[in-house]
């Protein structure tokens, strides 16, 4: 049936422009939220669990096994440390991780210093930087001797 020319035609497809804009915006916002949610799920899944050492008190062996002035590396989790016997009764525990780029320090018993193999940074047994690039002193850990065994609080 032909449409009379003088009758106005209402096209249902043509939404008012602002309604269309709002709908577009809403669907875009929905998609963006969805994307954020997906990113959060993937990110949370991908994040590796933080490695923490469960033990707080670590045994570093018997005091009598150390000679005076000897230092030993204790391979403890993500915080390896050195235990140095200072004299007959006193021991000292010091982080073995260089504060510069996390290289593992070596112990020089002759000078009683910790030396970094990467950039030749040097620390004394109080953890102070003697020379080289390390920006911060080494952290120390409280060490005690109980019944002849050395315990370190990490």
């Amino acid at each position: 049936m032909p449409i009379p020319e003088d009758r106005p035609i209402h096209l249902p497809a043509a939404d008012p422009p602002d309604r269309r804009r709002v709908l577009t915006l809403l669907s875009q916002a929905f998609l963006a939220l969805w994307g954020l949610g997906a990113a959060a799920v993937v990110g949370a899944y991908l994040k590796a669990p933080e490695k923490r050492d469960a033990e707080r008190t670590v045994s570093a062996g018997l005091l009598d096994d150390y000679r005076v002035g000897e230092g030993r590396l204790v391979r403890h989790g993500v915080t390896p440390f050195y235990v140095v016997r200072l004299d007959a009764t006193r021991v000292l525990a010091l982080s073995a991780v260089c504060t510069h780029v996390r290289c593992i320090l070596g112990y020089d018993p002759a000078h009683r210093t910790l030396v970094c193999p990467c950039h030749d940074g040097r620390f004394d047994l109080s953890g102070n930087v003697l020379s080289g690039p390390p920006p911060r002193p080494l952290p120390g850990y409280p060490a005690s001797v109980r019944a002849g065994e050395i315990f370190v609080q990490v």
């Binding site: 990110g43 991908l46 994040k47 590796a48 669990p49 933080e50 490695k51 590396l73 391979r75 993500v78 390896p80 073995a96 780029v101 996390r102 290289c103 593992i104 320090l105 070596g106 970094c116 193999p117 990467c118 950039h119 690039p133």
Partner: protein, 376 residues
């Protein structure tokens, strides 16, 4: 010949014709050659034999050889890395306990294992070298200008991907030297704003442990090659739109037959493999023993392409400042087509070339400084 009325006599129908009626072989050919070899669009409506004949008859610029075919070398090396990498993956186990052991098994006990490993290791060296040289060549000849911006961005992105592949691949052997060179290379990564902290967060801290190893493994064998292949595809899709560069000596519009081009490319490939086999057999990269996260050996250096940023990190007072410099440099290189615009005059081009050479010189000096700094 190829009119609608053409009927193949059944006696001459080969398996190609049989397949042709069931699969669009030209489409497959077109897809495959999106990763190399054909620089012009392929008419996928034609049968594959005609397409091949068309391609072989296409003229190729005469200058497309030697230094101007570095992209092809990169594509071949990438294929080699895929093949040798897949072979290595059959025996490799990505855990801190087994990584070095399994690598040693491959290299020492398996027939030909050392060769495959050395080809992979030297191939990565050459791939990084070739892709960096290609970037320099594109810059020198001004091939980032319109309409080749996408090509340039692809070349830069591929350089990033290749360098990351090399970096992640180094750790996989869990050799003491590569382990600690990764630890030290990561210092540069941590210093990069935004990306560094995000990565550190995702890696669960800044120690290189079993989580980092398996992440690097997944990146190295799946994610990065997929990205590389995607950029390769994009490169050829761009080439089919904008064509090969005409950068030969002024007025050199001479062309050669595609067959001749293919021949010279084959010779180039043979030469490449000659170099690779020579390096792999005469200068094998050495192992130093399994990595111990509690013992740092002396004389470990960051990878060579990290030396320049490493010096910045060591010698600039603020780590975040050098990180920012790095990030800015990387973005600046990527976006060269969009900020390095201007006249097409000779002077302008000369000035840009000189500036580029200056930047390269600074980079080289920093790298040498880095090597010296590490040696002292």
């Amino acid at each position: 010949m190829n009119g609608p009325g053409r009927q193949d006599p059944p006696a001459r129908a080969s398996w190609v014709d049989w397949l042709e009626q069931r699969v669009n072989l030209s489409e497959i050919f077109s897809f495959l050659t999106h990763f190399g070899l054909v620089y012009t669009p392929v008419d996928t409506h034609k049968p594959v034999r005609e397409v091949l004949r068309d391609v072989a008859a296409k003229p190729v610029p005469r200058y497309a050889h030697g230094a101007r075919a570095l992209g092809l070398l990169a594509a071949i090396l990438f294929g080699l890395q895929i093949v040798t990498g897949v072979l290595l993956a059959y025996y490799y186990r990505p855990t801190p306990e087994a990584a070095f052991e399994s690598t040693r098994t491959i290299v020492r006990d398996l027939p030909g294992g050392w060769f495959i490993h050395q080809m992979h290791a030297w191939g990565s060296w050459l791939l990084v070298g070739v892709i960096v040289l290609r970037l320099l060549r594109l810059f020198w000849e001004g091939l980032y200008r319109a309409p080749r911006e996408v090509l340039w961005c692809c070349a830069v992105a591929m350089t990033w991907v290749v360098i990351q592949s090399d970096f992640t691949g180094r750790l996989l052997t869990w050799d003491s030297h590569t382990y600690w060179s990764t630890v030290r290379g990561l210092e540069v990564v941590w210093a990069i704003p935004i990306a560094g902290p995000v990565l550190a967060f995702l890696l669960g801290g800044r120690t290189v442990n079993e989580d980092v190893l398996i992440r690097f493994y997944v990146l190295h064998v799946m994610v990065l090659p997929a990205f590389y292949a995607a950029f390769l595809y994009l490169t050829f899709a761009t080439l089919r739109r904008v064509g090969l560069s005409r950068t030969g000596p002024a007025g050199d519009e001479r062309t050669i037959h595609y067959r001749e081009h293919l021949y010279s490319m084959t010779m180039l490939t043979v030469g490449l493999f000659a170099i690779l086999v020579t390096l792999a057999t005469l200068l094998p990269l050495r192992f130093h023993g399994a990595a111990d996260p509690y013992v740092t050996p002396g004389g470990v250096r960051p990878p060579w392409y990290m030396l320049a940023p490493y010096v910045l990190l060591q010698r600039l007072p603020l780590p975040w400042l050098s990180g920012l410099v790095l990030l800015a440099a990387a973005i600046a290189v990527l976006l060269i087509p969009f900020w390095l615009r201007g006249g097409e005059t000779r002077e302008h081009r000369l000035r840009i070339r000189l500036a580029g050479a200056g930047v390269l010189l600074v980079w080289l000096v920093l790298s040498v400084l880095g090597a010296l700094l590490e040696r002292s």
